[in-house]
């Protein structure tokens, strides 16, 4: 029996993701979100960059674009600007979004263009073999940090907040329904929405950091994540080492494409 | 085939030299001639040296720069030193009398006119921003290269209506100075 969300997948495509990878769960959460949103598949444009995460667009049954490393957001911005009626989703990996695409990311946040960005954060460059990314935690090992990472990592939520995104949320694949709901809310939000989706990479992250077992990684996600609502009732001591999930920013601000349309409309009926 | 006029306007950034050149080129078109306008400028929006060149010809103009200028406007000492020797023998050198000191020992083949361009803009027009337009008036007054009407039309083409009047006044003041001007010995 086919799951309800499978109608959002293309058929006959083998995927490249490793056993234990969380990306398939993110894809399912996204498909469930589409089902809930009730979007016509013909109106959805999904755009990705490069890396394991980016392959998601190959599997989704809508208009899809697999762009260049880090460039998904400006490609999506041009498409959204020209065809505002399209529902534009951008899928990025952690290195894709915050290293090579970091500049595009902060500017998309600042511009507040109506795009929903889903950052599949597995804390590592998976496809190229486990090199550390800007979201690899301090001290963790990677093939380019064999003695432990001395780079300090970004907090993606704080980065998005600081750059001006008007919807910022974090979920993880051990809480699939929550993740899916965040995608729904992000898509319905008018403006630039960022949803960080924590997803395990047992092959390239776990293997070098003593958590090679996929089930063990998922268990860690369950153990360390705390919803922002629950966190309100917890002490600083209790929150030590925890990662907060849920909605961090949800505010109204003028949306870029609408503002530009207002400018166009202001010229209707003569030059000013 | 040779250009009727090849004009090099020089000064420092902010003096409106390029704008003056654009008006001159448009004025030439208004008079039914061909014209090109080009410029060389530094990174500074204000200060720094500016050079703009206008060629005027009855025929099509292929080379867009001033190969052998027959008119030089110089609003800075530096540009006078740099360019005054390039001017054709039967040409005209027009300098501002407070910005440029012409050393009588350094004779130039072309006729040199030292005129109160900046002073006229500042004192008579009461707006130093009009320096470039006073200079245009002086150039046209001395050389008669284009009709007064064509240049005034060029000014109208390039300024908003509310500042046309002051620029018209500036041009006519410059034109009068040019008409009355005598070259240095």
């Amino acid at each position: 029996m086919k799951a309800v969300y499978e109608k959002y997948f293309r058929s006959n495509l083998p995927h490249i993701w490793c056993a234990g990878c969380g990306h398939g769960t993110v894809m399912a959460a996204y498909a469930l979100a589409l089902e809930k949103l009730g979007y016509d598949k013909n109106d959805v444009l999904a755009i990705s960059g490069i890396g394991c995460s980016s392959r998601i667009t190959g599997y989704l049954d809508s208009s899809t674009m697999h762009t260049a490393h880090g460039r998904a957001l400006p490609v999506a911005s041009g498409a959204k600007m020209c065809e505002p009626r399209l529902k534009v989703f951008v899928f990025m990996g952690d290195g894709d979004c915050t290293a090579i695409g970091g500049n595009h990311f902060i500017h998309a946040c600042r511009r507040n263009i109506d795009i929903t960005a889903i950052v599949m954060n597995n804390n590592i460059y998976g496809m190229t073999g486990g090199q550390y990314s800007p979201l690899t935690p301090y001290g963790k090992k990677a093939t380019t940090a064999p003695y432990g990472n001395i780079d300090h990592s970004f907090d993606l939520v704080e980065l998005a907040k600081g750059a001006g995104a008007t919807y910022v949320a974090r979920g993880d694949v051990s809480h699939m329904k929550q993740l899916s709901d965040l995608i729904v809310e992000g898509a319905q939000h008018k403006g630039f929405s960022v949803i960080e989706a924590m997803t395990p990479c047992p092959t390239s992250f776990g293997r070098y950091n003593k958590t090679p077992d996929p089930a063990q990684m998922l268990q860690i996600f369950r153990d360390v994540t705390v919803s922002v609502k629950r966190a309100e009732k917890m002490t600083a001591e209790e929150l030590e080492g925890k990662i907060l999930t849920g909605v961090f920013v949800n505010r109204e601000a003028p949306e870029y494409v609408e503002d530009y349309q207002k400018l166009i409309d202001s010229f209707q009926g003569g030059d000013k | 085939m040779a250009n009727l006029w090849s004009i090099r306007l020089t000064g420092s950034g902010g003096q409106g030299v390029i704008k003056g050149a654009i008006i001159l080129a448009q004025a030439a078109l208004n008079d039914g001639l061909n014209a090109t306008q080009s410029q060389v400028y530094g990174p500074e929006a204000r200060g720094g040296s500016t050079k703009s060149e206008v060629n005027i010809n009855k025929e099509e103009i292929f080379y867009p720069k001033a190969e052998k200028p027959n008119v030089l406007l110089s609003l800075t000492q530096e540009s006078y030193h740099k360019y005054s020797q390039d001017v054709e023998a039967n040409g005209f050198i027009i300098v501002d009398d407070i910005m440029v000191k012409c050393d009588p020992k350094e004779k130039r083949a072309a006729k040199t006119f030292s005129l109160p361009i900046v002073r006229t803009a500042r004192d008579e027009i009461q707006n130093e921003l009009c320096t470039n337009i006073v200079a245009l008036g002086a150039i046209v007054g001395i050389t008669e290269m284009l009709s007064k009407e064509a240049v005034l039309e060029g000014i109208a083409d390039n300024f908003k209506a509310k500042i046309y009047a002051i620029n018209e006044k500036a041009f006519l003041a410059g034109y009068r100075i040019g008409k009355e001007a005598q070259p240095l010995d």
Binding site: H66, R71, P74, S77, A79, C82, N103, L263 | V40, F62
Partner: protein, 379 residues
Amino acid sequence: MAKVKLLQGNQACLEGAISAGADFFAGYPITPSSEVAEQAATKFPKLGRKFMQMEDEIASMAAIIGASAVGHKAFTATSGPGFSLMQELLGYAANAELPLVVVNVMRGGPSTGLPTLPAQGDVQQVRWGTHGDHSIIVLSPYSVTEVYYQTIRAFNLAEQYRTPVILLMDEVIGHLRERFDVPEGYQPEIINRKAPESKENYLPFRNTEDGVPPFIALGQGEGSRYHITGLTHGESGFYSSNPQVVDQFIRRLSSKIEDHVDEIAEVEECYTEDAEILLVAYGCSARASRAAVEKLRAQGQKVGLLRLLTLWPFPDKLVAKHCAGKKAVIMPELNLGQMVREVQRVCPSDVPVKSFTKIDGSLFTPEEIINFMKKGGCL
């Protein structure tokens, strides 16, 4: 009679883009191209078209790629340093066969170089700057009026061949103001990317007789739920490393343009018929060359000019034909001799081809070109 307008090269470019039906511009400010962006920012919203200033030139290319994928005519304008940043996605546009126009107003390089001064040092970069095999179309206007017509042609060729097209200007032409000689109410022929006969079982990268796949824009209903990737792909658009698929695809990316060089490549002949000495030039160098030729003709010298309006695909046959039988061929360029290699490649071996180069940030004077010919014993 309509007013005779003085227009700048960069302004004429925007006018051409408007006439061509371009409705999206994304760019990043850079001298000496910024007037194109400023004009787009000013005029586009009044025409219901859109302008975006991006965070850099990479994003600018990305944005026009997105616009093209959803079916819009999009362009950007830049100069050397920005054009270098665009190479990555120029390759993407070639690979994904997305029509778009990149205006490069050349200045002195390498690196930051001479921001306000002219050069022609990007003429090989436009062809080979992005990695991997592909072909590309590059047009080189030499007057303000021609900038207008060539900009329209750039969009038309981009659409016709589903390819990025580069309008390669230089600081002299971009900033030059002169008579804008386009008739009032002029209506150009407009070419749009060809649509498939049927949307059923649409193959976005199907090989057709002319090598150009029919196009359905993303997000446009039936047939549009397909995939675009920068990976090597088969006719369906999905990644393939099948040697046969790869071979066919990469060869088609080149042949769809190279096989049509006769329709794409244009040259202008000036006094070439009886010329004994032939100048070959493009862009601002052709302005100085034409002035030199006029002077020499007035003196009775049999000198002609072959002007390249299209740099790539290089007009092999036309150049070879015009070079044949000449006493000498001379190519002045504001670089250290980049396009002259192409002339040497196609010129009959008994005709000497001489390169005249200048890289000091100024345009040749006609006298310099004449003196070069004299010194070389051509006159």
